[in-house]
């Protein structure tokens, strides 16, 4: 049976091979259009991150309304992958292989969906700018066509620990982290920085994605006598953490990542417990009065879908892709993947809603700097603690 199958396959192969090889390569660029794709979970457990992909959509709409880029409009193909890598691969392959193809991938939420398509994209030389996850996988080793924006989680953790020890005088720092890549990277960075400062963590507690009863976790943190806790979890767990901590009368200095930098959201969903929290931020704050942010905030009501919220991740969907737009502008009318990659490599200190972004030959981590901020005792006002800072 198998032999027969093999024979048939060989026969079919010999008949059809020349045909399939001659299929023209799809570049996703026509005279009037540039086709760009992104996946983002619109449903499922990761649905709150889906606003990244919708933010990108708003940026492209604004660009098209202003006349497009060198006479071409951007056609944006956003699809829902439910944070399920099997669906991400299917969606990406479908778009890339269908007329007229995909020129480049913009952002794309999540480490695991991204990893599932990384090799496929890189083998075909399809540019990919600004994956929405602060993972080391994008830049180790650096890929010709992959341009990362999101600063590394580990760097954020290091900066926070340094601040807690050196500026706040905290001695016993506990680490509370999600048991996924995001949490593990934050955990690793924090432990490394503590080691450099000659300290050890007061306690390291991990939390599973599905857990909704965090009392034993919080009891452990409390028993450790920590005076500061680095909280590297998702928004839902942050809410449960603060509520449980309040019930256990445990009030350390909380410090947390850019994932939880959406102060109005956190303030609402914690029911007002988001007080006196130190957090890292990878972008300008959504309510900041800087021109790079205000131009989008002003346009937001016109473009946003009903039910959308002007939050950090919606805005990050703009920020992760701004360098791509800059690259498309610099590449000029004669747009090929090579000219685009060369244009991307020429970007230095580009400043949009994110921190400064620079690329160069072999340099694929665009943004390294983050800053720290703190909410006040009412949880409504945010003060910046540090300027944009690079670790090391």
């Amino acid at each position: 049976m198998l032999k027969k199958l093999g024979n048939i396959a060989a026969l079919a192969a010999s008949l059809w091979l020349p045909l399939s090889a001659s299929a023209a390569e799809l570049t996703g660029v026509t005279d009037t259009e540039i086709h760009i794709a992104q996946w983002g979970p619109q449903t499922g457990p990761a649905a709150p991150w889906g606003s990244v992909a919708r933010g990108t959509g708003m940026l492209f709409q604004m660009i098209n309304d202003a006349g497009g880029i060198h006479g071409r409009k951007i056609v944006y193909h956003m699809f829902d992958d439910q944070y399920n890598p099997a669906k991400t691969v299917a969606g990406v392959k479908e778009l890339v292989e269908k007329e007229p193809g995909i020129f480049a991938i913009a952002s794309g939420v999540g480490t695991s969906p991204g990893l599932a398509v990384k090799d496929y994209l890189m083998e075909r030389g399809i540019p990919w700018v600004g994956p929405a996850a602060g993972s080391l996988h994008w830049i180790t080793p650096p890929q010709k066509a992959l341009f990362a924006v999101y600063p590394l989680y580990a760097d954020e953790a290091k900066l926070l620990v340094r601040h807690l020890v050196e500026k706040e005088g905290k001695k016993k720092i506990a680490i509370f982290y999600a048991s996924d890549e995001y949490g593990e990277n934050g955990h690793r960075g924090a432990v490394a920085e503590l080691q450099r400062l000659g300290l050890t963590p007061a306690i390291e507690v991990s939390v599973n994605q599905a857990d909704r009863d965090l009392k034993s976790h919080l009891l452990k943190l409390k028993e450790s006598g920590a005076d500061a806790v680095l909280m590297w979890v998702n928004p839902t767990h942050a809410v449960i953490t603060l509520k449980t901590a309040a019930a256990l009368q445990f009030s350390p200095q909380w410090a947390t990542s850019s994932t939880l930098s959406d102060v109005p959201l956190m303030q609402t969903i914690t029911g007002g417990l988001w007080k006196n929290i130190i957090f890292a931020s990878f972008s300008e704050l959504p309510d900041a009065d800087v021109p790079t942010v205000t131009k989008y905030r002003a346009a937001f009501p016109k473009y946003a879908q009903q039910g959308e919220r002007w939050g950090v991740f919606f805005m990050a969907g703009i920020g992760f892709v701004e360098p791509m737009v800059e690259g498309l502008r610099r590449a000029g009318r004669n747009l090929t993947r090579e000219s685009f990659i060369a244009a991307m490599e020429s970007i230095r200190d580009y400043k949009g809603v994110m921190g400064a972004i620079s690329y160069g030959p072999g340099q694929r981590q665009g943004q390294r700097a983050v800053f720290l901020a703190r909410t006040d005792d009412t949880g409504t006002k945010v003060t910046q603690l540090t300027p944009w800072t690079e670790v090391k």
Partner: protein, 295 residues
């Protein structure tokens, strides 16, 4: 506090968590022992109920004491409708087929709620600060936890009385034991089954309303409690009400003890290991009579 000093606190936390599992377990048991259906939609029906309460409090500005009964009435309607529209329509259903039907209901409810209210977590406002509580013997008990335990205990007690003392309870037990004979005795078994679904949805809804304020309200809020509730129901014997309550408490306590004293990493799977051990000794659960199949 030294090693064992935290024990009472951990036990209390375990009971507070277990109270919610017990309610969900009861809801599953009510349906299972009347209609022999494993209702995997229980958790998401509770989630929907919580959202409805939230919408009435935040959207319509109703006070809590008005919103909760209305939400529970909605739950009863939802449960009854699910039975009437789906389960009752099944022709010659197999056990597995019924499970798939409840999974289908679960998806529909889940899809509807996430469409209506979006995926972002929300806060359930209650007129109670999370900081408030009492301390007795070194154990910190927040009011919310105390209320959770009290409401669960009251619900369990009321259910127990209702199902064992009232005519409707008798009819439900009769339906479970022999559907055909119950029918011959003049019990409208279909109505009884619909009632069981409505009752279960209310009990599950209460669990949802207790989980909401302690955590967040979001489409996935009931997945983990629901799984634990299912485990608790099986632990207690799947047909036994006191068993379900006991099972909930045991699971809450076991996972909190393990989480605190051993590791938080495997906290959520430890109850299942405990169940496996228990079932190898008592294959029908803790409090159910061992059922031997007749040939």
């Amino acid at each position: 506090m030294e090693f064992l000093g935290a024990l009472p606190q951990v036990m209390f936390s375990g009971i507070a968590a277990g109270a919610v599992y017990a309610l969900l377990a009861l809801a599953m048991v009510i349906i299972y022992r009347t209609t022999e259906v494993l209702n995997f939609a229980q958790g998401d029906m509770a989630m929907m109920t919580t959202y409805v309460a939230l919408a009435m409090i935040v959207g319509s500005g109703l006070p809590l004491y008005a919103a909760v009964p209305l939400a529970l009435a909605f739950a009863a309607g939802l449960g009854a409708f699910a039975e009437f529209a789906c389960l009752r329509r099944a022709k010659e259903p197999s056990v597995l087929g019924l499970i798939i039907i409840t999974l289908g209901i679960e998806m529909i409810v889940f899809g509807f709620a996430s469409w209506k209210w979006g995926g972002e977590p929300r806060d359930m406002p209650i007129p109670l600060s999370p900081y408030d509580g009492i301390t007795a013997g070194g154990v910190i008990m927040s009011y919310l936890e105390l209320i959770t335990i009290a409401v669960a205990a009251l619900t369990i007690g009321a259910l127990f009385l209702f199902l064992n003392r009232s005519k409707a309870g008798l009819a439900m037990r009769a339906t479970q034991q022999n559907r055909a004979v119950a029918r011959l005795m003049g019990i409208r078994v279909r109505r009884v089954e619909m009632f069981a679904w409505a009752l279960a949805a209310v009990v599950g809804g209460i669990a949802g309303l207790l989980v909401g304020p302690a955590t967040t309200v979001e489409p996935y809020m009931m997945w983990e409690p629901m799984m634990k509730g299912f485990a608790a129901a099986v632990l207690g014997g799947m047909t036994s009400l006191p068993g379900a309550a006991l099972g909930g408490a045991i699971i809450g306590i076991v996972e909190n003890l393990f989480g605190y004293y051993v590791s938080t990493a495997f906290k959520s799977v430890v109850p299942f290991a405990a169940i496996l051990l228990m079932l190898t000794v008592k294959p029908s659960g803790l409090l159910a009579r061992h059922y031997v199949k007749k040939v």
